[in-house]
C-alpha cells in the first residue's frame, strides 16, 4: 500500500482541487482529508456519512469553586496564562498539561475530558473518504490528522486498497508534519508568484527534513511564465522531479461551483494537464515496484 500526500506551503494554490481530481482518476484508493481545521474535500465528493466518531483532545482544567482556597499556586505555575484572577480557567488557552491539578494543595482542579472535534468515514462517488471537523477554536489538529490517517490506512489494508490520497493542510507546522509521516511521495502544488515560490521552498525543506520524497507542480502557470520558469530550474537544481504545469482555467472554478472537480466536467485545458500529471505521479509512486 502506498500513501500520496498533496501539500503546498502557501494556502489556496489548488491542493483540494488536485486531490479531488486524483480521487476521480485513481482506480483503487481511499481519500483522507487532513486539512482538518478547514476541510473542503467533501464539497467535491458528495459524501454519505457511514461512521461518525468523537475526537477527544487534551483534557482541560476545571477549578471547583467551592474547594478552591485562592492560594494562587496554580496561577503561578501555569505557563499558558490560562487561569484568571477569579480562578476561572480559559479553556482556549489551557493546553491540558495538568500541572495545576498536580500542584493544587486542596485538589480543587479537575481535568475534564474535552471533545475537540469529530471524524467521519464516508462513502463517496469515488470511494471511501476519511475526514474530520475540528471543534470551534480547538487545538490538537496534528493529533486529529493522525487519527484520520490511521483510519485511512487501516481501511486500505482491510479492503486491499493499494493507495491512500492525503489532502494536506497549508503551512509547515504540526498538522503538516502529521500529514507527512509514512508518506511515499508528496506532490507540492504551487503557483507562479514570489510568495508561492518562497513557501514551496520552505515546505520542500520541511518534507526533506522528514525524508519524504517530493515532486513540484505549478498551478495557474501562465499567470507569470517567468516565475514558472524559475520554479522549473529550481526543481532541476534541487533534484526534485518537476511534475508539470496547469494553466489558469475558469472551468476549474465553474466545476467547483457545480460541486464537481474539473476532470469530471469535460475536456478543458486544465483537465487535460491534470490527467497527464496523474500519469506521471502514478509512475513515481510505484517507481521501483514490480
Amino acid at each position: 500500500m502506498k500513501q500520496l500526500a498533496i501539500i503546498s506551503g502557501k494556502g489556496g494554490t489548488g491542493k483540494t482541487t488536485l486531490a479531488g481530481a486524483f480521487a476521480c482518476l485513481a482506480k483503487n484508493k481511499i481519500m483522507a482529508d487532513c486539512d482538518v481545521d478547514a476541510a473542503d474535500l467533501h464539497l467535491l465528493l458528495s459524501p454519505k456519512i457511514l461512521e461518525e466518531h468523537d475526537f477527544f483532545g487534551m483534557e482541560k482544567a476545571f477549578i471547583k469553586k467551592d474547594i478552591c482556597i485562592s492560594c494562587g499556586k496554580c496561577r503561578e505555575i501555569c505557563r499558558f496564562n490560562a487561569i484568571g484572577k477569579t480562578y476561572i480557567v480559559d479553556k482556549i488557552s489551557c493546553e491540558g498539561c495538568a500541572f495545576c491539578a498536580k500542584i493544587c494543595p486542596e485538589k480543587a482542579v479537575e481535568m475534564k475530558k474535552n471533545q475537540a472535534g469529530k471524524w467521519f468515514v464516508s462513502e463517496t462517488k469515488f470511494g471511501l473518504l476519511v475526514h474530520a471537523k475540528l471543534g470551534i477554536a480547538e487545538e490538537n489538529s496534528g493529533k486529529l490528522v493522525s487519527v484520520v490517517r490511521g483510519k485511512a490506512k487501516e481501511l486500505a489494508q482491510e479492503k486491499g486498497v493499494d493507495l491512500v490520497i492525503v489532502d494536506g493542510p497549508p503551512g509547515i507546522g504540526c498538522p503538516v508534519m502529521a500529514s507527512l509521516s509514512e508518506i511515499d511521495f508528496a506532490v507540492v502544488v504551487t503557483e507562479p508568484t514570489f510568495s508561492g515560490l518562497h513557501d514551496a521552498k520552505r515546505v520542500i525543506s520541511a518534507a526533506r527534513h522528514f525524508k519524504v520524497e517530493v515532486g513540484l507542480l505549478v498551478n495557474k502557470s501562465d499567470l507569470n511564465p517567468e516565475i514558472t520558469g524559475k520554479m522549473k530550474s529550481y526543481a532541476e537544481e534541487s533534484n526534485i522531479s518537476f511534475l508539470g504545469e496547469i494553466p489558469f482555467d475558469k472551468d476549474v472554478i465553474n466545476a467547483l461551483i457545480a460541486g464537481k472537480n474539473v476532470v469530471e466536467t469535460g475536456n478543458s485545458p486544465a483537465a487535460g494537464r491534470i490527467r497527464e500529471i496523474w500519469k506521471t505521479v502514478k509512475d513515481r509512486i510505484y517507481d521501483g515496484d514490480t
Binding site: G11, G12, E76, R79, A98, G142, G171, F194, I227
Partner: protein, 322 residues
C-alpha cells in the same frame, strides 16, 4: 487599534489586504506577520531589516548522572514526551525527551526530586516514594536556577524554534515571525511576535490560514478582525468556520470578499442572512493577479486602489467608535 486579517481558507488575500492596508494608512503603523509557517508580507513590503531576535522555548534536559530513575517526570508529562528506562541487569539506565511533543509546561522539572549525590549513586531502581522537596520558584526566577550545580536531574534548556525579524519601509514597521523549518510549534512564536505591538501605534496582524490554535493565537486580543474570503464553495465553507471562531472569542469582525465577481452569490447571501458587515468587494482582475505574482503591492502599481483600502479602515473605525 489592533486589526487582525484572517481567513479560514488559505490564499484568499490576507497578505494582500494586510500590506495594502498598512500602506494606505498614511501614518506610522506596525504590520505583524503572524503567518509564521509561511510569512510573505516582506515579499511585498520589501523593508530594510534592522535586526532579528531568536524565539526560544524551554525543553527539559536530563542529567543521567543525577537521575534516580523515579520516573516522576514521565508520569507527570501529559504529552508523553519523556520516557525513562531504568537500569536493569547489565544495562545502564537511560531516557528520552521527545522535543516535538513537549509543550514546555515545566511540570517535569518541578517534580524532579532533589537528591544528594550519595542517594543518587545508590539508586538503582524506580523509587516512587521520592517526593519533590521544594516548591519551584516562580517562572520569572526560573532562568537563574539553570546552573549546572542544580540538584535536580532535570533542568530546562532553551531551544530555538524560530526568529523574529524587525524591518521598516516608509511609515510601516514590519515584524515578521519565521518558524524554523522542521519545527512544528507555531503558537509560542506568534505569541512572541505579538508582544511587540506598541500601544500608541495602529497594528495590523496578518494571521495564518485555518481556524485552529495558530489562527486563534493570532487574532486573540485584536480589537477587530477582517475575514477575507472568495465566493467559492471552499471559501464559503471555511468562512463559516472562521465566523464561528470569532463569535466564540467575542471579537467584532467584518468580511472582505476578494475576487467577488469570480464565483457565485452564496457568500454574499450568507453574510446578509447572518447580519455580517461586508467591508469591501474586490474584483478579480488579471492585472491584479500579475502584480501579486511579482510581489508588487496593489497600491503601488495601481494608486487608484488606495481609496478601496483606506475606506475599509474608515468603515472599521466608524463601526468601532460609533
Amino acid at each position: 487599534m489592533k486589526i487582525a486579517v484572517a481567513s479560514g481558507k488559505g490564499g484568499t488575500g490576507k497578505t494582500t489586504l494586510s500590506v495594502n492596508l498598512a500602506l494606505s494608512l498614511n501614518r506610522r503603523c506596525c504590520l505583524l506577520d503572524c503567518d509564521v509557517e509561511e510569512p510573505n508580507a516582506h515579499i511585498f513590503l520589501k523593508p530594510k531589516f534592522l535586526r532579528e531576535e531568536k524565539c526560544n522555548v524551554l525543553i527539559p534536559e536530563i542529567d543521567f548522572k543525577k537521575c534516580v530513575w523515579c520516573g516522576k517526570c514521565a508520569e507527570v508529562c501529559a504529552y508523553n514526551a519523556i520516557v525513562i528506562v531504568p537500569p536493569s541487569g547489565k544495562n545502564e539506565g537511560t531516557g528520552f525527551v521527545f522535543e516535538h511533543l513537549c509543550h514546555s509546561c515545566g511540570a517535569c522539572e518541578y517534580f524532579c526530586p532533589i537528591i544528594s549525590s550519595k542517594e543518587a549513586s545508590s539508586a538503582t531502581e524506580i523509587n516512587k516514594e521520592i517526593k519533590p522537596r521544594r516548591l519551584a520558584k516562580s517562572i520569572s526566577e526560573r532562568g537563574s536556577n539553570q546552573c549546572s550545580g542544580s540538584a535536580k536531574a532535570i533542568s530546562e534548556k532553551k531551544k530555538e524554534i524560530g526568529k523574529i525579524e524587525f524591518g521598516r519601509k516608509g511609515k510601516v514597521d514590519l515584524i515578521t515571525g519565521r518558524l524554523n523549518v522542521g519545527e512544528i510549534r507555531a503558537v509560542p512564536l506568534i505569541e512572541k511576535v505579538k508582544k511587540n505591538i506598541s500601544l500608541n501605534l495602529d497594528a495590523i496582524i496578518d494571521a495564518p490560514p485555518g481556524t485552529s490554535c495558530p489562527m486563534v493565537e493570532a487574532v486573540k486580543g485584536a480589537d477587530y478582525v477582517i475575514l477575507v474570503t472568495e465566493p467559492t464553495p471552499f471559501g464559503l465553507n471555511d468562512l463559516v468556520l472562521a465566523v464561528e471562531v470569532l463569535r466564540k472569542l467575542s471579537i467584532p469582525f467584518g468580511v472582505v470578499v476578494n475576487r467577488y465577481d469570480y464565483g457565485d452569490d452564496r457568500t454574499l447571501k450568507y453574510c446578509a442572512r447572518e447580519n455580517i458587515k461586508v467591508l469591501a468587494k474586490i474584483p478579480f482582475k488579471r492585472k491584479f493577479a500579475e502584480a501579486y505574482s511579482k510581489g508588487i503591492p496593489l497600491v503601488e502599481e495601481f494608486p487608484e486602489c488606495s481609496r478601496l483600502f483606506s475606506d475599509i479602515f474608515k468603515r472599521i473605525e466608524s463601526e468601532m467608535f460609533s
